[in-house]
Symmetry: C2
Subunit: 278 residues, 2 copies
């Protein structure tokens, strides 16, 4: 059992809950921002970008590669993930980056510090996401951009509809709600930006999808979800909130293993995306 | 009241149920096919394309523009929509196109007739979509492509969550099921292609979204849905299946009007997409 391996103990290896997170890059998770980032870079190569809730830092690192003469700051509430993020940057040979501990509700930066402030799958997990967006707007320069992409967990599609996969969906939605989050973040993102003080004309809204369906994607996805169910922080939280038993989680893990073996299997979800022009 | 205006009587004007359908183009509804279509056109400018369930023909017409030296055939089960489709082609000045009546279960074409066979939001409405895909594969040449895009109605996201909009969602899902369709078509599309006889290695699966959220999109969307609720065939079918009363439909229409006025309003859905290489 590896339940006691916290990320800070093994910075060269992803923790169980991060296997899927570490597939994320700016290209697959911030595609709506990239054309704007490119045009901003052309007029100012020394862009500064803040990635809020950077986690293992794979998105931050790919941003840093896209603005080699700029600088990326990744910030995360969890101090234990920072060594892993720094290792990810080091393995990629990326130097124009730093990772700090901090909360999105009180970012440790002066007003108008960054050209671009970004977050991905952060607002979905927190109680007052409009306060987070207001804080992101505060630390962004005039003429800069606040960008966010948040899943809409209620749109998650799984095929085939194995009953235990349905239970897993309910478990994850329950965990999100128990932690104060909003499973319907994707559809609410625009309303949160307005509540944070942005005007509608400043906001560009779009949608995109994430999915797993090729043999290798199904394998990685199943492995990541099984690890979350068998070891790691998700399991601990679910037990703490009384959202299931160890036996339930094992049955869900077996269902994911069965799912991965099927040619007709797929998993997809819709995400909401905003660009706010400050 | 315009309930008795059938499309065949007014080919220059869209019927109530077609206002939203007529926003569809190859660019917004077949984007997953376009790169492949472009490369096929480069090696053979005289491509033939079949658009199954062409409806008002706006997608067919935009395909015809993309392959000006090729030819597009649009086919639809409903003979009353054909005059409208022909009018749409004529208004666009498109000549390399024809529209015919026919069913996807028994396409009136010899084996291996078309380079590309396409359908959009057709399989979601029918009882045995795998039979339709088998028939589409039959009329497609070896080396050709069968392409489909089908919504997953269970992923529809609406914000704000006005109660009557929730009722509308249930009405639409009920109508789909009552007609023998599958509201979860998007997630099942891959499994249907396998059931039709395609092998997994022949199938490319992807996902995309459709959405309405700008002021003008909300206006058009609300108008289209209100027309469906107040006049036209959707209302007639819903009454016939006992899925609501005239008063219910009026309340839903008023909710869509309220929705359209709100800055924070949005409507989005996930679609499944396949390309099958024959």
């Amino acid at each position: 059992m590896e339940q006691d391996q916290t990320p800070s103990e093994k910075p060269g290896h992803p923790p169980a809950q991060a296997i899927l997170h570490e597939l994320r890059t700016a290209e697959n998770s911030a595609a709506h921002l990239l054309p704007k980032l490119q045009s901003m870079k052309e007029s100012n190569p020394h862009l500064t970008l803040l990635d809020v809730g950077a986690g293992s830092g794979t998105i931050s690192v790919s941003f840093a590669k896209l603005i080699p003469d700029g600088h990326v700051t990744g910030i995360d509430l969890n101090p234990n993930i920072l060594p892993r993020a720094r290792a990810v940057a080091e393995m990629a040979g990326v130097k124009n980056i730093e990772f700090l501990q901090g909360t999105v509700y009180n970012l440790p930066f002066a007003d108008e510090t960054f050209d671009v402030t970004f977050c991905h799958q952060v607002l979905i997990h927190i109680g007052t996401p409009w306060d987070a967006l207001r804080e992101m707007l505060r630390v962004t320069k005039r003429g800069g951009i606040v960008a966010a992409r948040e899943g809409d967990y209620e749109t998650e599609c799984v095929w085939p509809e194995l009953p235990k996969l349905r239970c897993f969906h309910q478990l994850m939605a329950g965990l999100m709600s128990a932690g104060g989050g909003t499973p319907t973040a994707g559809r609410e993102l625009l309303s949160w930006a307005l509540k944070a003080g942005a005007e509608r004309r400043q906001i560009e809204l779009s949608y995109s999808t994430s999915s797993y369906h090729t043999t290798s994607e199904r394998k990685v996805c199943s492995q990541g979800l099984c690890d979350q169910l068998r070891v790691g922080s998700l399991r601990e939280k679910a037990l703490k909130f009384g959202l299931g038993t160890e036996n339930d989680f094992e049955e869900m893990a077996k269902a994911w293993e069965e799912w991965a073996k099927r040619d007709d299997a797929c998993l997809a979800m819709l995400h909401g995306e905003i660009l706010v022009q400050k």
